[in-house]
């Protein structure tokens, strides 16, 4: 590297590899390549796949889960986890359906959905940050607690009869085939991407996930950051509850059953380290696209749901194991 005139020689360069090379070698590139392959495979497998309205329908397979996934990604990077997100959806949806019986209108329903999400997130957050309990245990507990409350209220009943303007959140289209949910997904992807990668807050999330002790010693208010992350995850679950309830048009206590695992799968597939400290929002976005396309493509081929989950599970293990296998081979274990 030659020095421009007037600049003094630098002892330490900022970076050795430029950003372009980094992006090319990244996990996200690998995922993107897989996404393209799946896309091509889908177009070959079914002639209906490329239809714009079909593709638009396919996005509903991931938009709600991915919205939670963004907040979950931050939470997992910070070294915590929230397994109660699907429980929060059930409770928030039940609260909305219950309020509906008293003639609460759409703005009120939305407020209730958000508030329940926030309260559930706060409950998890207080247990983890104030009492110092492990989040995996706390949220396994609240997962059953939240959904259990929903069962108590509903039994085997369902709430129906949501107002027609409430349907916009889950069934509305902003422009042509572009649904309101897809727009919301993109906006949240952008917001969370910026928060994680371009703000002090995001930097602190990484620092906490990598070394909580050193982060605390560096003056980061760790409990406050984690509390905010639990609140965010709760609110995102509330938003997902609004969209999903609107899309289904009814509330049953089994709503969004086992979504927490699909959300965590999406986040981990997106390259977020389950041990904390590493990951990106772009990875989660691509992982969401992959999971959405796989589910939809297999659906077009009339593959039953249980086979789909086998496929998703296999994909997760393959995508995580392959790079590790390559490094093992490269470091000369097999010389």
């Amino acid at each position: 590297m030659s020095l421009a005139e007037g600049t003094r020689p630098r002892n330490l360069p900022d970076r050795l590899t430029n950003r372009g090379t980094r992006v090319l070698r990244s996990w996200e590139m690998l995922l993107a390549a897989i996404a393209v392959l799946i896309f091509i495979a889908n177009t070959q497998a079914s002639p209906y796949f490329l239809d714009p309205w079909n593709l638009s329908d396919a996005t509903f397979n991931f938009t709600e889960k991915a919205m939670i996934g963004f907040a979950m990604a931050l939470l997992i990077i910070s070294g915590e986890i929230d397994l109660s997100v699907a429980g929060i959806i059930a409770l928030a949806s039940t609260a909305m359906g219950w309020a509906l019986q008293f003639g609460v209108g759409t703005p009120g329903l939305v407020a209730i959905g958000l508030a329940v999400g926030l309260i559930c997130g706060a409950f998890n957050g207080v247990l983890v940050t104030r009492l110092g309990l492990p989040s995996i245990v706390v949220t396994i507990g609240t997962m059953s607690l939240f959904r259990g409350l929903s069962y108590v209220v509903l039994g085997d009943q369902a709430f129906n009869g949501y107002p027609s303007d409430f349907a916009f959140f889950g069934r509305g289209y902003v422009f042509w085939v572009i649904s309101f949910e897809l727009v919301l997904f993109l906006i949240f992807a952008l917001i969370y991407g910026v928060v994680l990668h371009a703000t002090n807050f995001g930097r602190q999330v990484y620092a906490i996930g990598n070394n909580p002790t050193a982060a605390t010693f560096s003056g980061i208010r760790m409990q406050r950051v984690k509390m905010i992350l639990f609140l965010l995850t709760g609110v995102m679950s509330g938003i997902a509850a609004i969209c999903l309830t609107s899309r289904l048009g009814s509330t049953r206590p089994s709503i969004a059953f086992a979504w927490e695992l699909e959300v965590v799968t999406m986040v981990v597939l997106g390259g977020v380290s389950i041990l904390g400290g590493a990951g990106s929002i772009l990875g989660v976005v691509i992982a969401a696209l992959i999971m959405g396309m796989v589910t939809f493509g297999l659906g077009l081929l009339n593959v039953p749901g249980i086979v789909m989950s086998i496929f998703i599970g296999g994909l997760l293990i393959a995508v995580i194991a392959l790079p590790r296998l390559f490094t093992l081979i490269r470091t000369g274990r097999a010389s």
């Binding site: 002892n11 970076r15 602190q204 050193a214 003056g219 590493a278």
Partner: protein, 511 residues
């Protein structure tokens, strides 16, 4: 000296283990380039070199953790290849590491035999034999520890002895000791020397890594010097002097160890009054003036680090007050301490100081993000500028500012941590064992830098267990013992003997 007569016997032996032309590179860094090392049966070879010279990398190659890019490992002159830690231990190489990895929840015997426990019928662990064998090994190294004790009940020095016992529990021909005395008291160091002598007489080849020259000249037979990843020199200890060895190590001769300072302390910056903690320390009071270096001396466990961490807001004190620039403040978290201008460079770099999986520049700016950002949004250019400013001042050796701190040597990691704190522009900097585990060259650099900071008006509290450092650097010294201030020295009467007496509690009637 019977040493001279020994030279013939020393040189007649064939090496057990020989490294030839070993090169190890990491992305952007060459850690070792074509180094040679030979270890002989019944002899102690001292490996000396500054931090970053490649000693730790070499240990990792010897123990099979790293695979070299080039070069050969020869056992009994037969080329072999270590690709896993098991390969190395099968070849009879065992290591006692700088920071030992043991398990608090297991018993002493289980720690010693983890991974190679004696088996009885049906492949089950033979607990009786394990305990008996453990007792035997512990006896052999002179450690009075019951093998059934859970490890967490032991102190740091006893844990170290367990680590040594663990290393000796495999039938080793080569024992690598990576700074084995760093955590030990003087009496324990003496016991370790005896142990080394015993291992020598058993015919084991010992690689002894240390920064302490008195140690090296006392127990080593041979030396090998590394500098910047290359082998500079090797030979017999009997044929070299301390000064020559230092010169080879740093590539220059060093005269004055401690910097000369003109010290005219200014106004009182920090006053601590009656600081107490339920269990760790009590009634700590002192004043710190501008531009002053205040030394805190004491034995390990005297409560110095615990007090400093309370002052920094990590733990809560049970009483007392802190005044900074005449204003009484309360410090409930490190964030508040940093805000008020008090920063703490911890003793445990890897756990408390640096975030090793993050790049240098992000480590440096972590407490200063408010400075480098705009409305909460990070500005990388500002971050690089800030990181460069302070790391260049500390003469950090790295491939780039984007390199992960974990890839740096201990001394350079310490520089990153110090840079991180200086970037916050503190009023008071607390350095907890700032030169622990650092080689002579880096030590002098850190000392010089401390003197410079004090001259610029920064107030320094230096916790140190090294008497020369305390004597050489401090304007005033406070000695702590069992959580209390045992003595204060304002320049007069400050002798090594007085420090040791105060720290150990052998005062002749404190007036």
């Amino acid at each position: 000296m019977n040493r001279m007569t020994d030279i013939e016997t020393l040189t007649s032996a064939d090496p057990v283990l020989r490294l030839s032309g070993i090169t190890k590179t990491f992305p952007g860094v060459t850690a070792l380039s074509g180094v040679e090392l030979a270890l002989y049966p019944g002899q102690v070879t001292a490996l000396v070199g500054e931090n970053g010279a490649g000693k730790s990398t070499l240990v990792k190659i010897l123990t099979g953790i790293y695979v070299p890019n080039e070069g050969q490992i020869l056992v009994d002159e037969q080329p072999t290849r270590f690709t896993t830690a098991t390969d190395a231990s099968d070849a009879g190489i065992t290591a006692i590491h700088q920071e030992t990895v043991l398990f608090d929840e297991l018993s002493v015997a289980e720690n010693i035999y983890l991974g190679h426990a004696p088996r009885g019928r049906f492949g089950l662990v033979d607990w009786a034999k394990m305990r008996a064998d453990a007792t035997e090994i512990l006896d052999r190294i002179g450690a009075k520890i019951d093998p059934r004790t859970p490890l967490r009940e032991l102190g740091i020095a006893s844990k170290h002895l367990v680590a040594i016992a663990r290393a000796l529990s495999v039938d080793a021909r080569v024992v690598v000791m990576d700074e084995p005395t760093a955590a030990l008291s003087q009496a324990e160091i003496e016991e370790l020397y005896e142990l080394v002598e015993r291992l020598k007489s058993e015919g084991k080849a010992i690689l002894f890594i240390s920064h302490k020259f008195d140690e090296i000249f006392r127990i080593a037979d041979r030396y090998t010097v590394f500098r910047d990843g290359e082998m500079v020199d090797a030979g017999l200890i009997a044929e070299v002097t301390e000064d020559q060895l230092v010169e080879k190590m740093v590539g220059r001769s060093m005269d004055a160890i401690f910097p000369q300072r003109d010290h005219t302390p200014g106004d009182t910056v920090l006053s601590v009054d009656g600081y107490s903690h339920p269990t760790e320390f009590e009634d700590i009071s002192f004043d710190l003036r501008q531009g002053e270096i205040l030394g805190f001396y004491g034995l390990v466990g005297a409560g110095r680090s615990e007090f400093m961490q309370a002052l920094f807001g990590v733990t809560k004190p049970s009483g007392g007050s802190v005044t900074i620039d005449g204003q009484e403040i309360s410090i409930r978290s490190p964030a508040e301490a940093i805000e008020k201008g008090i920063v703490y460079v911890p003793e445990d770099r890897g756990k408390q100081g640096a975030i090793t999986a993050m790049p240098i520049f992000q480590n440096v700016t972590l407490p200063s993000l408010a400075q480098t950002s705009n409305r909460g949004f990070v500005r990388m250019a500002e971050e690089f500028a800030l990181a460069r400013k302070y790391t260049e001042r500390l003469d950090l050796r790295a491939a780039s500012l984007d390199q992960n701190v974990g890839n740096l040597s201990g001394g350079n990691q310490q520089k990153v941590v110090i840079a991180k704190w200086l970037a916050t522009k503190p009023k008071v900097i607390i350095l907890d064992e700032p030169t622990k585990g650092i080689d002579v060259g880096s030590k002098a650099a850190v000392h010089e830098f401390m003197a410079e900071l004090a001259a610029e008006g920064l107030s320094v509290i230096m916790v140190s267990s090294e008497i020369p450092e305390i004597l050489g650097m401090s304007d005033r010294v406070i000695v702590m013992r069992d959580g209390l201030i045992a003595a204060r020295f304002d320049g007069e009467g400050l002798t090594p003997e007085a420090l040791v007496r105060a720290a150990a509690g052998y005062e002749e009637s404190a007036a």
